[in-house]
């Protein structure tokens, strides 16, 4: 929203080759920023570093993005979008509401496990970036919490689990997952994040009143 600059419009008017190159450069910068933010944190990342990592000049970066903040916002948004899309796809493959919730959780978890940097960016830097990003961080957490709550609502509607405060549960689940991932990021424990999912899953499902039978049953899938 008002984040993009001339980049798009201007780049398109000239032939495809140019537009192509421009889009590539833009993505180069985004990639570079992504990695640098994740490695050094938002505040400790200088525009120079981003430019260097993107193999451009500072001026080049400013041609594509109006401010450092804009880069970060764009990154937050696109990363979240990609993750959400991934979750949607995984969920779509399931029909059972509990399986859906499980799929959503597992996808987020697996994605983070495979992309430390992404997790870092979304959950550590977002806060580290300062109050200015509260809105973004907020929206991000809200989005995932609501997504979970949605599946829980379905489960309740279908009678798969007893009625409960799904809003709160969504928040709590996300928080639990978040902390486990954060622990892994910061303390490096456990070594392989994936192996933590089964017990965590059991814990969360149980908290929502899913019968023990169902908990054990739902396969390891995917």
């Amino acid at each position: 929203m008002g984040d993009e600059k001339r980049g798009g419009a201007q780049a398109e008017k000239r032939g495809g080759a140019r537009a192509e190159k421009s889009r590539t450069r833009r993505e180069q910068i985004l990639d570079a920023a992504f990695n640098t933010f994740a490695r050094r944190g938002y505040r400790d990342t200088a525009m120079d570093e981003i430019a260097a990592a993107a193999e451009t000049s500072k001026g080049g970066v400013y041609f594509h993005f109006a401010t450092k903040e804009a880069i970060f916002r764009e990154l937050m948004r696109s990363t979240a979008d990609r993750l959400a899309a991934k979750v949607d796809r995984a969920v779509a493959a399931e029909t059972d509401p509990i399986a859906k919730a499980d799929a959503a959780l597992r996808t987020v978890f697996a994605t983070f496990a495979g992309h430390r940097t992404m997790a870092r960016l979304l959950f550590l830097d977002a806060l580290g970036a300062g109050r200015a990003f509260n809105d973004e961080t907020n929206a991000l957490h809200e989005r995932f919490a609501r997504m979970i709550a949605g599946y829980l609502d379905e489960a309740v509607a279908e009678g798969a689990i007893p009625p409960l405060d799904t809003r709160l549960t969504g928040v709590a689940w996300f928080g639990a997952l978040n902390e486990v991932v954060a622990r892994w990021l910061m303390a490096g424990e456990p070594a392989r994040l994936e192996e933590t999912y089964p017990p965590l899953r059991a814990l969360l499902l149980r908290s929502a009143g899913v019968p023990e039978a169902r908990i054990a049953a739902t396969g390891p899938a995917r």
Copy 2:
């Protein structure tokens, strides 16, 4: 040596118009820093602001603390200590292991509910302070996660709950609680944090396999 200053006896002379004034300068600074960090974040807080808030000069602040970082660390440490002590006291009043875990959780929750700023400092700023503070943040989260795990271990030992990965559960519980508090801090929802505790408590206890009967039973306390 030289860490604490004189008591503060003579400072009390003006009765106590404002508790602020009666404190040692060192504490004034700590207070000012606490509030400013919580309000504007670590990086966005300038030493000038702290000095101004403490009604001193920048040099005055530096007389008491070597660096900005030192102030922050001191604050993290003392705040965590105070909270841990509070939890210990609350837990000591209980004998039943589940009640203990409950007491610990409730105390943390209630404390945060009463001190937004403290929560903000401990759980938001710690990240905003940059990678340099990962160790501190880490230790802090570790500390609380372990504390919870300890009570769960007792509960398992006494047969109050079935065996489970208490380490993981400690982390997850803390994360859940943390997120609920964070949501409240950032989105202002729910309006009164306290009312979220009962359902959250139920959720967490249930996740550890505490029988529904016990969940409903354990006192309403505080």
Copy 3:
């Protein structure tokens, strides 16, 4: 890499109203620093002053030099290099070893006489810059002392002077010259430094055992 900037071709456009203006910014800064250091001393020179003298901003200076120290080192090095080159040229014009030593001495002397600031920078500021620069100062003095010792060695080898501790003599000569120049810098005595060279030259040559006849003989040159 990135040590030298573009030539300075396009900068020459305005004919040459003032040589100052035709130089690269980097050189402008170096010039400004040279003068400011020489006038106020290393410690008493603020980066702001250098920037102002170079008609740039502080940030501009930092674009070209990483630290204040870096500027000083660069200045020491280049100044010493230029002087050494000058001495080499003067010496190359002579064949007789005594004449060589004489040429070296006279060149240094004359250069200082013509550039108070250079002398000030190399021999007064180097100390004023603090222990951190001892190495540089050291290297500088060492360099000149050794240069002199070298010519003396040749003279001894050719039998022009009797064997003697050339190393020590080099140091002593340099010290003598240094002090005479320093006296002139600090006390303004004598008014015209050049007129001190003949007697000083006699003194030094005599100290090395050069026969009186030779002392009087060696040309007036320059």
Copy 4:
């Protein structure tokens, strides 16, 4: 000159014990400053360090000396006085003018050899202290150069050496000696400063036209 503060006057009015103690404290400070200046340089020495080294408080130091500069000046003066007195005594023991000059030189040399710190203070810091101390440094060098010139004048008057520019020779000798000492201070070469005196002495005497016979003759004395 306007350097002393209340110290003297006030301290005297009360009994001897007190005055005694005060004088002691004052000297403690001077000693501490002497060592600290010599070790870290004038600019890099903080009043705190002096106070700490003197086992007093900063306020205590300021009771005895109005400014940091005052301490330094006092130190320069008293150190130079002590050295001059020592030289005077050594010279008084000789009658021959050449022997006198030799005694003066040797005394300075030996004193520095035995007190690196003193040499450092007088010859490195004096410059390092910045332009503000040019006068003091100047006076110091002038003093010694003149002292030497005085003995040379006597020697010329007695016909021990041929007429020459004694003023210049005094400066040159002092410079030579100074540089040799400086080399020793900064580069640590030679390991034992004393052993450099004999050849240096020969060099200097020779430069003034002292016959080789006399040079070899004048004993190692003292």
